[in-house]
Symmetry: C2
Subunit: 164 residues, 2 copies
C-alpha cells in the first residue's frame, strides 16, 4: 500500500498524470473573519487589516493577504488531488502570481493542469510532475469572471507499484 | 505623507533600496500548536497533521506546512521592513523553495537582500525592486545551521517625495 497525501491508500500515481490532463479543485469561499485573522497574524499590512484605510483606498475595502489566498489553493489541492495521490512533499513553487485583489465573500474556483513530467533521477521510484493552477473569482451567475491567482510548481509522485 | 505597509509615515523609499543592501528580519519561533492548527485548516497532509504516521516516517515527527513557513517569513518582512517602507501590494513570488523540513520549536532567522531595481514603466512614481530572502534554522548555540526556505520576488516601492 502506498500512502496518499492524507494517509489513505493512494489510487493516483505518476503514470496517471498525463500532460494536458486537468483537475477541478472545487470552489473555496472567502470567509471575512478568517481572512482578516490570517492577515493580523501573518501579514498585517493596512489594506489587509485596517478597514478604515482600506475603505478610503483604491481597493474600496479590505483585501486578502496573498498568503491566505494561496493557502486556500493548497487546501483545495489537498482535498481534491493529494488526498488520492502518491505524492511526496513539494520542493516549492516555480512561480506565484496574485493577479487581482480578493475580497471577503468571494467564491474562488480552482483548476489544475498537468503540463510536463519526467522520471526523477534523484529519487528512484518517483517522477517529477510540473503543474499549473489558476484560481478564478466566480461572478453572481457562478461563471468565472477573472483570475486572482496563478502558480506553476513541481511535485514528486510515486510510480504505480507492480501488481502482486 | 506616504503610508508605509502598516499605515505609518514611511521612511524607506525606492532610492534607499540599493542592490547589495541586506536586512536582518529577526528570528521567528515555530510554535507547535499553531503550526499544526495551520496545517489542519490549509494543508492537512499526514506529515503535517498525523503525529503517529509522522513519527514513524523519515521525518521523525510532524513538519510544518511550507505555507506556514512562508507565512512566518511574510510576518518578519512586514515587521522589519514593510512597516517602514512606502510599498505597494506585491505581484507575487518569482521562486519559492522549501529546502529542509521545519519542526515545532525551531527558531528561524530571516535575512533579505536587495538584488536589483529599476523604475517602473507601468506605475509612474514607483520603482520595482527584486529581493531574495533566506530563512535559516538556528542551532543550539544560536548560529544558523542550514536554510529551510529561499525565495525571490519583486516589490513596488514609491519614490521619495520631493521635499516641500
Amino acid at each position: 500500500m502506498t500512502l496518499s497525501g492524507t494517509g489513505r491508500d493512494a489510487d493516483l500515481f505518476y503514470e496517471d498524470l498525463a500532460p494536458g490532463l486537468t483537475f477541478d479543485l472545487g470552489v473555496a469561499d472567502v470567509e471575512g473573519d478568517e481572512m482578516v485573522a490570517f492577515a493580523r497574524r501573518f501579514d498585517p499590512q493596512w489594506y489587509h487589516v485596517d478597514e478604515g484605510l482600506a475603505a478610503e483606498s483604491a481597493y474600496g475595502g479590505l483585501i486578502a493577504s496573498g498568503f491566505y489566498t494561496v493557502s486556500l489553493f493548497m487546501r483545495a489541492y489537498v482535498d481534491h488531488l493529494l488526498s488520492r495521490a502518491a505524492a511526496a512533499a513539494s520542493p516549492g513553487l516555480e512561480e506565484l502570481r496574485w493577479t487581482a485583489p480578493v475580497y471577503a465573500g468571494d467564491h474562488l474556483a480552482t483548476s489544475l493542469e498537468v503540463v510536463d513530467r519526467g522520471l526523477s533521477r534523484a529519487r528512484p521510484g518517483f517522477g517529477t510532475v510540473t503543474l499549473t493552477a489558476v484560481m478564478s473569482r466566480l461572478g453572481p451567475g457562478g461563471d468565472p469572471e477573472g483570475d486572482v491567482l496563478r502558480t506553476r510548481f513541481r511535485g514528486w509522485f510515486a510510480l504505480r507499484p507492480d501488481p502482486r
